[in-house]
């Protein structure tokens, strides 16, 4: 047992977790993004069928007119083969009666034939039998479902449709998903794409600035407070992060609704009640940035606080002896030593803000008028939320894939900026 093998053994759980929770979703996103997958295509595969709605579109799909007409007019027909089967499986009397009175008759739908079977002198009484009996006379493939391409092609051949149309018909009949790059073409075409991208940039920059500046402010201001008081303040500012998002946003809603806190208070001064969150896009952005900002700032505060504590106190004492005031201490001693934590928070928060949308979803849901719809939220709305019920998994994944690429590019940039190798270099002091 070499130490290398032991090392890999120890790493295995982490590697498996990385694979399942990081690599696999990314891989699936890549795969989905290049498909036209939606609710209607299903995920697992597809069958073959032509229904009456599709019939109308067949001429546009290049199917010849005689074939379309054949498909349309075929239905159910009383034929000798069918009658033999009927006599065999159900009732000879019924078969005889049909042969005498209705030979070669055609029916547009199974329902019409079922009605006839019910009205015979010797009717087929049970619903289940009647349906099975009617199916013996089917000469149509419209409305039928075939689970494999071969079955469909065999059925198609039996209808006598020109074989030149078989390939196109098979393509039209497939209900499952296929590979395509159309999702990305669509993203380029849609006017909303640019708006969502700009929204995202605006959201990330504003929230990030708020996060870092407010986090720094909290860290520095609590640093100068006596220990117990400082901890109390930090605990309070940490609340947004530990509250469940739904509860946290609900409090914001209550705060900003036109029957909420702000409206009530401003109402005392004669301001008419209004929805302070959804009034205008400006209101909505302010609230969205604050909601996310407070959550991010609390993390920054914790990180920055510990970084400040790591600054040797002797430097601060020395500066005080030299007569430096608080601002000079912050400006010349604390901030310069905070470069790495600030850079780290900036990069970490950029990446997480790019992909985060849950607080926006709960607060404004991208409104008003898609004004606060960010890229990640658009991906969610496309892939998992649609009034008509046909969810666009493929297009949603294409949205998400763009974020994955931006994320990877930014990560690479930050690693360079940080000079990651230097950070990982062995400490010189022990050499």
């Amino acid at each position: 047992m070499t130490s290398r093998a032991l090392g890999i053994g120890f790493l295995a759980p982490a590697l498996i977790a990385v694979f399942i929770f990081f690599l696999l979703p990314v891989l699936l996103t890549v795969v989905f993004a290049f498909t036209n997958m939606s609710t209607s295509t299903g995920i697992m595969g597809g069958d073959y069928r032509i229904n009456t709605d599709q019939l109308r579109g067949l001429p546009e799909a290049g199917i010849s007119a005689p074939s379309v007409e054949k498909l349309e007019s075929a239905g159910f027909q009383i034929t000798e083969a069918g009658l033999t089967a009927l006599a065999d499986q159900f009732s000879e009397d019924a078969a005889d009666e049909l042969r005498d009175d209705h030979m070669d008759a055609t029916f547009g739908s199974r329902r019409e034939l079922e009605r006839l079977l019910k009205d015979l002198d010797d009717p087929i009484r049970r619903t289940r039998d009647r349906k099975a009996a009617a199916d013996l006379f089917a000469v149509t493939i419209v409305g039928e479902r075939y689970s494999t391409e071969d079955e469909f092609r065999v059925a198609l051949s039996a209808t006598g449709i020109d074989s030149a149309d078989h390939d196109a018909l098979t393509r039209e009949a497939f209900t499952g998903w296929g590979w395509t790059t159309d999702n990305f073409k669509l993203l380029l075409e849609l006017p909303s794409t640019l708006r969502f991208a700009l929204n995202t940039a605006f959201y990330v920059v504003c929230t990030l600035a708020f996060n870092i500046l407010f986090g720094l402010f909290l860290a520095i201001s609590t640093f100068y407070l006596p220990g117990k008081l400082a901890n109390t303040f930090r605990a309070i500012w940490f609340l947004p992060r530990i509250l469940p998002p739904v509860l946290y946003v609900l409090m914001w809603n209550w705060f900003t609704w036109d029957t909420g806190f702000i409206s009530t208070v401003t109402g005392w001064f004669g301001v008419p009640p209004q929805n302070w969150m959804m009034q205008t896009t400006g209101h909505a952005w302010t609230v969205v940035v604050l909601i996310n900002g407070f959550v991010g700032a609390s993390l920054g505060m914790i990180l920055f606080s510990s970084a400040i504590k790591a600054i040797p106190t002797s430097m601060l004492y020395a500066s005080e002896v030299d007569g430096a005031n608080r601002w000079q201490q912050v400006r010349h001693i604390i901030l310069p030593q905070m470069r790495w934590p600030i850079l780290f928070m900036t990069s970490y928060q950029t990446l997480s803000l790019l992909t985060s949308f849950e607080y926006i979803l709960l607060a404004t849901d991208g409104g008003p008028g898609r004004g606060t719809e960010v890229w990640a939220l658009a991906a969610f709305h496309t892939a998992l939320n649609n009034y008509g019920g046909n969810l666009q998994y493929g297009l949603g994944a294409a949205y998400a894939l763009v974020l994955v690429f931006i994320g990877i590019a930014l990560s690479a940039l930050y690693l360079r900026l940080f000079n990651f190798k230097d950070l990982l270099a062995k400490p010189r002091i022990e050499q």
Binding site: S38, G42, N51, K118, T175, W257, M278, Q279, L391
Partner: protein
């Protein structure tokens, strides 16, 4: 002797096995989306139907034991639909679902549902008695996939007291539904009267016309009011009528400009909205037939003396007074065991029995699905059900069962939102909607 004992034991064992074989145990799971306590009969009707089907089987000498498990505690439509579709992919879908008729097209293509017409006689009672137009709403691509579970309609509402204060007499108010239906009272009149109510201080600014707060079938009604058509009957393609769409957006922009509707109205809390319209804070608004029960819960016990209702008024000469019905449907999910599909379909048919459906209709303030329900005492005795059926259902149409309708509806609402909130002018919004629809709907769209 030993042989005899063996034979008896064998015979006994066979008898027991035979007895077991004839007793059939079927587990049926019913998931109802968008259902609260008032909609309990969506599941309970299936339970009652199971009892009836067991009795029918018993008379035929078969022992059928049906266990019905119902579930309706979904947080919303999203959770319900994700549960159903992912369950269908994994082979763990419920046997019966109650859902929007708009799901039929995509779920049937995906193979998640099976056609009820494969298992029940559509020409037999009670399915033969269901309104044909409702039956059609539960069909797609020439196949009867499901059966309508309930019907509703989306009326326009007026607060009587407000109308009186701006000069209407009781008789005028009573004649309003007729005038709306004939096209004499239009959306232009609504705007005019709403402005009057705001200017006279009868209602606050922004409360003259108080529409729905989120996307839904309701907004397609206003598109129809201005002459828009959702689907072209000949080709089966969706229709973007740019003139109708522009005028429909313009109406809402005008309402905001006149101060009768709030610019930031979309996204208002539903609870707040219900409470306000139920208690006369708004002059005009629109909603659904189920609001009747909701207003009661919001403290308005006197619907008939406080509120008037009608079709959604027409917007111009091209349009018509209309209302959209958005029935939920019973659908049977694809099962490994075909026998479950058959029993599920039979249960759905029995649950459509006029008496059973009336229990749901009256308890949840929905409308009947079958003609005979008008003759059921419980239904006929309910003023709301019978008047709403009379005033609304005759002019009701449904949204098309079209695969791309979701994309259509979404784009239409986004455009409305953009125009309403002033992000774009109606013309700009319609231009963007056109680009969006052409890109997403493609060949299935006709632009006029």
């Amino acid at each position: 002797m030993k042989t005899i004992t063996h034979s008896i034991a064998l015979a006994g064992a066979m008898a027991v096995t035979a007895g077991l074989a004839s007793a059939e145990d079927i587990n049926i799971t019913v998931w109802a989306g968008g259902s609260n306590d008032g909609d309990s009969y969506r599941i309970e009707a299936i339970e009652i139907a199971a009892d009836i089907l067991e009795r029918e089987a018993a008379i035929l000498g078969e022992e059928l034991n049906i266990t019905v498990d119902g579930r309706r505690d979904f947080t919303g439509w999203d959770e319900f639909k994700q549960g159903v579709t992912l369950g269908a992919e994994a082979g763990t879908a419920p046997s019966i679902v109650v859902t929007s008729h708009l799901d039929i097209t995509s779920w049937s293509q995906a193979g998640y549902i099976v056609a009820v017409e494969d298992y029940v006689d559509l020409d037999a009672w009670p399915l033969s008695n269901v309104y044909p137009n409702l039956m059609e709403i539960a069909a797609s691509g020439g196949t009867q996939w499901g059966v309508p579970q309930d019907a509703e309609s989306r009326p326009f509402f007026f607060w009587r007291d407000t109308l009186t204060q701006i000069g209407y007499s009781e008789d005028d108010i009573d004649a309003l539904p007729g005038k709306v239906a004939s096209g004499e009272y239009t959306l232009a009149n609504v705007l005019e009267d709403a402005k009057k109510a705001v200017d006279m201080g009868v209602v606050e600014e922004g409360y003259g016309f108080y529409p729905r707060v989120s996307n839904g079938p309701d907004y397609a009604q206003f598109y129809q009011s201005f002459g828009g058509e959702l689907m072209d009957a000949d080709t089966g393609k969706l229709v973007l009528d740019k003139a109708a769409m522009t005028e429909f957006y313009q109406f809402f922009v005008d309402a905001v400009a006149a101060g009768v509707t709030r610019k930031n109205h979309i996204g208002t809390e539903w609870d707040q909205w219900y409470n306000e319209v139920a208690n006369g804070r708004a002059a005009f608004w629109h909603g659904g037939t189920w609001h009747f029960g909701r207003y009661k819960r919001e403290g308005n016990d006197d619907f008939w003396n406080t509120i008037q209702f009608s079709l959604i008024p027409s917007g111009n000469d091209a349009g018509r007074a209309n209302t959209i019905t958005h029935p939920l449907v019973y659908l049977v999910m694809n099962q490994e065991d075909e026998r479950i599909e058959e029993v599920a379909s039979q249960l759905i048919a029995i649950a459509t029995e006029p008496r059973l459906n009336t229990l749901h209709a009256i308890k949840s303030n929905h409308l009947a699905v079958a003609q005979a329900q008008e003759g059921v005492d419980l239904y006929r005795g309910n003023r709301w059900a019978s008047e709403a059926t009379e005033v609304l259902l005759g002019s009701a149409n449904a949204q098309p069962n079209h695969l791309q309708y979701g994309a259509f509806s979404e784009a239409m609402f986004r455009g409305l939102e953009a125009a309403w909130t002033g992000v774009q002018t109606p013309e700009e919004a319609v231009a963007e909607v056109e680009t969006q629809m052409r890109a997403t709907i493609g060949d299935d769209l006709i632009v006029r």
